[in-house]
């Protein structure tokens, strides 16, 4: 029987309590270490291509040094990981990539794809409503109130106060904001 506290201990909730199991290999850990090692070596090769060994002050000097460190440490990590026995009481679908994580990750990808064509407000509304509904399983009233309420708040802070121009997409946002502005300015005169 595992309590949530036990779970946290090897999940990496903070740098000070890093994830991983001491003395055992988690599912997928070897694959991750192998990917890092290969990627580091590719990067090292790429860094060599920046300027070779042309000069101490070349733009490639520090990148080569750092990617060399990456390659060496990644290989050490890989070797160490491979030597560890694979843990028996964890599975990928339960402890590494539970369905809920995959679903949310896919929703984030969908968000990224839809953001530009659809615009910030519709995309975010869809995302919040869907995510909160799936995760909380509460009534539609609760879901809609919470998600739309917080979306309006976020929009006001970022769009109006901080004038961050999120993609408008299908919403005629600029006209609406100008109208608001006209009303406020006209009213204050």
């Amino acid at each position: 029987m595992q309590t949530p506290e036990d779970h946290d201990a090897h999940e990496g909730t903070s740098d000070a309590t890093p994830g991983g199991l001491p003395g055992e290999r988690r599912p997928g850990e070897a694959v991750f270490a192998a990917i890092l090692a290969v990627a580091s070596i590719v990067l090292l090769w790429n860094a060599y291509g920046i300027a070779g060994f042309s000069a101490l002050s070349s733009p490639g000097a520090i990148p080569m040094a750092t990617t060399a460190v990456m390659a060496v440490t990644a290989v050490i990590v890989l070797v160490k990981t491979l030597r560890l026995p694979r843990t028996a009481d964890e599975t990928v679908s339960r402890d590494i990539l539970p369905p809920v994580v995959i679903v949310m990750a896919l929703m984030l990808v969908a968000y990224g794809i839809l953001l530009r064509p659809l615009g910030f407000i519709p995309t975010s509304a869809l995302f919040l409503v869907a995510a909160i509904k799936i995760l909380s399983n509460r009534s539609w009233g609760f879901t809609l109130a919470v998600s739309l309420g917080s979306l309006v708040l976020i929009w006001l802070i970022f769009r109006i106060v901080f004038t961050v121009l999120m993609p408008a997409g299908i919403v005629p946002e600029a006209e609406f904001v100008q109208m608001l502005r006209d009303i406020v300015q006209g009213g204050s005169e």
């Binding site: 004038t163 600029a174 006209e175 904001v177 502005r181 009303i183 300015q185 006209g186 009213g187 005169e189």
Partner: protein, 334 residues
């Protein structure tokens, strides 16, 4: 209470009336600033635009969009709808993108709304340097090859153009170029003794000179500066400089080619009026910038002549990545 209601109603009526009477601007305008917050482009744009908003009767929301020497912002505005609702607020750098291999667009793809002002390059050194004037510096460089450290800000930046000018006029300079991110950090390094000489904009160094923390060697302009009447101008030191001067970095507001005539006219008038505002003129003078306030064909001519001078200077100094000839940039005077 009645007044508030009346105010709100009349505001609505006014807003509706304004929308009928005028077709531009009907919504807020985005101003994309090519450089980061706190830089000189940022300061200039944020201080001129409120005056332009007054003249225009609209809102310009300014955003900093940095990266790739301003190319990110330039491409963003070029790719946006050419409807006059996206302005590019930039500096001189895009005119060198083609030559320096940083992109295949420049202000040729834009209509200049206003070239606001131009900066004056100046050569400064630190007070404890082994020379205190231009001739002394040239002599010291000749006697101590490789010893003198010049600050630079990457190929295509103002220091690289000024040193290209010096190398063209005076012949090869055997000095060490130490690269910095901008003239601010380089001037700091100059005061700390990490470099010896820095080509900078007058505005950035004027306070340091006034305090005696930097010593001016030469002003790269055709006329002496009212701030530093005693500092020699470059053509006095070597006639060769006269060919290339006046030269300097500039700031401008642009819209993409294809923007409706009406929007271009409205913006041009608004910015022309804004530049004439006394507050802005004072600010420019304090920072040592020469106000230009040009638009239309005059601005186009200025841009192409600036580009040809600078591109060929860099080409002749061996700094250009692409040959200006191949890009269709004529040699100055041709």
């Amino acid at each position: 209470m009645r007044n508030v209601v009346l105010g709100a109603v009349s505001a609505l009526v006014m807003a509706a009336g304004a929308a009928v009477a005028q077709d531009y601007p009907t919504r807020e305008i985005q101003g994309i600033i090519q450089w980061g917050a706190g830089g000189s482009t940022d300061t200039v744009m944020r201080s001129v635009t409120p005056h332009a908003e007054d003249a225009l009767g609209g809102t310009v929301v300014m955003q900093n969009m940095t990266g790739a020497v301003g190319a990110i912002a330039l491409n963003y505005v070029a790719d946006a709808d050419a409807d006059g609702y996206t302005l590019l607020m930039g500096a001189e750098n895009p005119m060198l993108y083609k030559v320096m291999g940083l992109g295949d667009r420049d202000y040729g793809d834009f209509i200049p709304i206003n070239i606001l002002a131009r900066g004056t390059p100046i050569l400064v050194t630190r007070p404890d340097a082994p020379f205190s004037d231009y001739a002394g510096m040239m002599a010291y460089i000749a006697e101590n090859p490789g010893e003198v450290r010049f600050g630079s800000t990457g190929p295509g930046g103002l220091p690289s153009v000024v040193t290209a000018m010096m190398q063209t006029v005076e012949g090869e300079l055997d000095v060490t170029f130490v690269p910095y991110d901008g003239d601010g950090p380089a001037l700091t390094a100059l005061q700390g003794g990490a470099i010896d000489v820095m080509p900078a904009v007058l505005g950035a160094s004027i306070e340091g000179i006034r305090a005696g923390a930097m010593v001016p060697l030469a002003i790269f302009d055709t006329e002496a500066s009212p701030f530093l009447p005693d500092t020699p101008i470059a053509p006095e030191l070597n006639e060769g400089y006269a060919t290339y001067l006046p030269w300097g970095p500039f700031f401008g507001v642009f819209v993409a080619n294809g923007t409706p005539e009406e929007a271009v006219t409205a913006l041009t008038e608004a910015y022309a009026a804004a530049v004439e505002n006394q507050d802005f003129l004072d600010l420019m003078e304090n920072r040592g910038f020469t106000v230009m306030n040009i638009s239309g064909d005059e601005a186009q001519d200025f841009l192409s002549s600036w580009q040809s001078t600078t591109a060929w200077l860099l080409q002749d100094a061996g700094l250009a990545v692409n040959d200006p000839e191949g890009l269709g940039i004529p040699r100055p005077g041709e």
